[in-house]
Amino acid sequence: MQWVKLIAPVIRLAIGAALARLALGSRGRREALPANSDTTSAERRLELANRLEALKHVIESAGIGTYFWDLTQDIVRWSDHHYTIFGWPTGTPVTHAMFRQRIHPDDLADVDAAINRALASRGDYKLRFRVCLDDGTIRYVCGSGRVELGADRHPIGINGAVVDVTEATQAQDIVRQREHDLAAIAMHLPDIISRFDREYCCVFMSTRVEALTGKPAEFYIGKKYTEFGMPSALAARWGAVLDNVLRNGLGREFDFNHIDPTGKERFFIARCLPSFDLNGRVESVLAVCSDHTERERDARQVREDGAALQRADLRKNEYLATLAHELRGPLAPISSAAQLIRFTTDRQVRDKAREVIERQVTQLSKLVNDLMEVGRISSGKLEIDRKPVALRQVIEQAIESTQPLLDAKKQTLACAMPSAPIWLNGDELRLVQIFNNLLTNASKYSPAGSSVSIDIRIDGGAATVQVCDQGIGLSAASIEDIFDLFVQVHATGVHAQGGLGIGLSLVKQLVELHGGKVSVSSDGINKGSCFTVALPCMEDAAPVLEHVSSTQLPPSRPLTVLVVDDNVDGAATLALLIEAIGHQAVAVFTGLDAVALAAERQFDMAFIDLGLPDISGVQVALRIRNTPTGRKLPLIALTGLGRDEDRYLTRAAQFDEHVTKPLHLDDLLRIIQQVAAGAGRRE
């Protein structure tokens, strides 16, 4: 024990002093004899007395009490400080029995045994025990003694010393309690707490270490960090940090990865702090290793999310740039065609220019529709209206709408389909959109004169439709994200190939909404691509659906149509078109004019733009509905707004139909014929 080491030299000194006193005492007794000594002896005695007094002072200053137990008379002689330690007035006659009365009952047997052993062995004893004073105070003392032998070698007494170590013991108890508390706290902390001495040996390790290394805390105690079984690189880092803290007395921090017993990688931050002794020297290093695995994982997630957002932002910017390009693409031939019509009277050239305008306007409309789909995809509002539908009909419609593209590039299309009808439970419009997009892509990314194939099979309960081309193909990297929104094929790795990067993402969404799957394969760049769509089939044949085209509708009677649009060109051209197909049309350019005119004149129907400058189209509709003539007037919302919420708004405003611009001639004919037949009139 530390305190024994500390006081042992003092006790030895005290014993020496006691012996000296004993010697002096014997001479003192001789002093009582008639004074017949010479002067030298007197001087010598005086000098000894002075030395003894000085030594006594030193001993008492050190808090040491000395004693001599005369075994022959059972008299115990104490120094003044011994009386102080044992709480009796100085000079009180003391026996060994009285001495024993003061000893704490729990320590008495130990004291007796130590003294008896010393007497039996004619040797020394040394032990710590407690002394109980009359007022209940308990003192910790360290007692020691040496057996003195008489001429016949029999013990005649014991001389020795006691030191009051109460303060040191209490301080030690506090330290011990603190260490105990620290260990208890450390046990419940998620961190690993350890302490290394100046020899880099572990003197404390919290039990938490076992969960993270598989080895108990005891394994580490007394071992150097190099014996922990760490990878050599990590051990080198620990060594450098411990060395630095021990040398410089400054805390250090570092991080490291560790594989736990379950094979999971964990991330730690280690903080190493110096502990100083009373002389201000670094005596040890306290190391706290905090498990930051979860926090690091969260931080990594945040970094990855940030990177994903950046990628998405980049794609959005690319998308906007491509959008501008894609819109300009059709505008160029439209502009050229319009100029051709202006410069030539040649009927064939004008017809060709008209065809170009129609085709490119269709392309522009598709672009705008795709734009609308982006909103639906990203807000998850894409919905399908399921009905039994024949796959043959879907494929035929998709081919029909793609045929002009294929023809323009002189591409051939081969379609293989089972003769037995295949029924799907799906949204016909959306299903057509799926295959239209795939066929459009096949044509667009394939050279002129190449061939495109559609192969339809029944595989279990699913219909698989494979659309293959001989086009620019896909790299392995492209295949991974080809169905992501705004992703475009980069065949050369230099420039995008055009398109908004929406089509295939839309295909995937629509296929999945129908409970199917879409996949793509390609042998590589310039080796073509194959898109495979698998859709669940209906088991029972569905009833034959009626497909009514505009050409089947009965011829309509002449109508008077009100056209309301603040775009003067838009209103005027629609009025001209209506008149060109045999009806009458009146165009107005403000909402208030429309309301006034509708109250004055009898119209058969009205096309109303929604975004009017004075009052909105919705207001126009509501006001017309409040007039006697307008209550049953078929109202058609003609607008650039095609979102679900826009359609909901026009329904609420009692419009009969919602048509998005540009109005196709087929749609115009259908609407007019429905009104003429009375189908569009409100009851």
Binding site: I334, T344, K409, A448, A491, H495, G498
Partner: protein
């Protein structure tokens, strides 16, 4: 209607139009032919390179974003070829396309779609003027 005012006769003024948008290429061909130029069209960079070798146009108007070989790559290939070097006009739908990119690829001039006929004719005339 020959108002090109160049040193060549109308049949000598050869223009190659390169655009994967077939309508765009054909409309421009018809307009340029109406103004006296001899025009051929190609819908891909590879097809255009073959026509360039045989037709020897003095001016080529090329789209930039085309499937397969891009307009930039086409221009590089033309400049690297041993055939007579034409003037190259880049027709771009990207308003932000930098002049330095088109110049670096070997183009002499850049025109943004949709362009007016007057602008295109002025551009082509300036190219022929520089070719003399």
């Amino acid at each position: 209607m020959n108002d090109t005012g160049a040193a060549w006769s109308s049949e000598q003024q050869r223009v190659l139009v390169v655009d994967d948008n077939i309508d765009a290429a054909e409309m421009l061909q018809m307009l340029l032919e109406m103004h006296g130029y001899t025009v051929r069209v190609a819908h891909s960079g590879n097809a255009a390179l073959a026509i360039h070798a045989q037709f020897a146009p003095q001016v080529i108007c090329s789209d930039l974003n085309m499937p397969g070989m891009s307009g930039y790559e086409f221009a590089h290939a033309v400049r690297a070829s041993s055939h007579p070097q034409p003037r190259l006009i880049a027709m771009t739908g990207e308003g932000h396309t930098a002049d330095r990119d088109t110049v670096a690829a070997g183009f002499d001039q850049r025109i943004v779609k949709p362009f007016s006929l007057d602008d295109m004719l002025a551009c082509i005339r300036s190219m022929f003027a520089r070719s003399t």
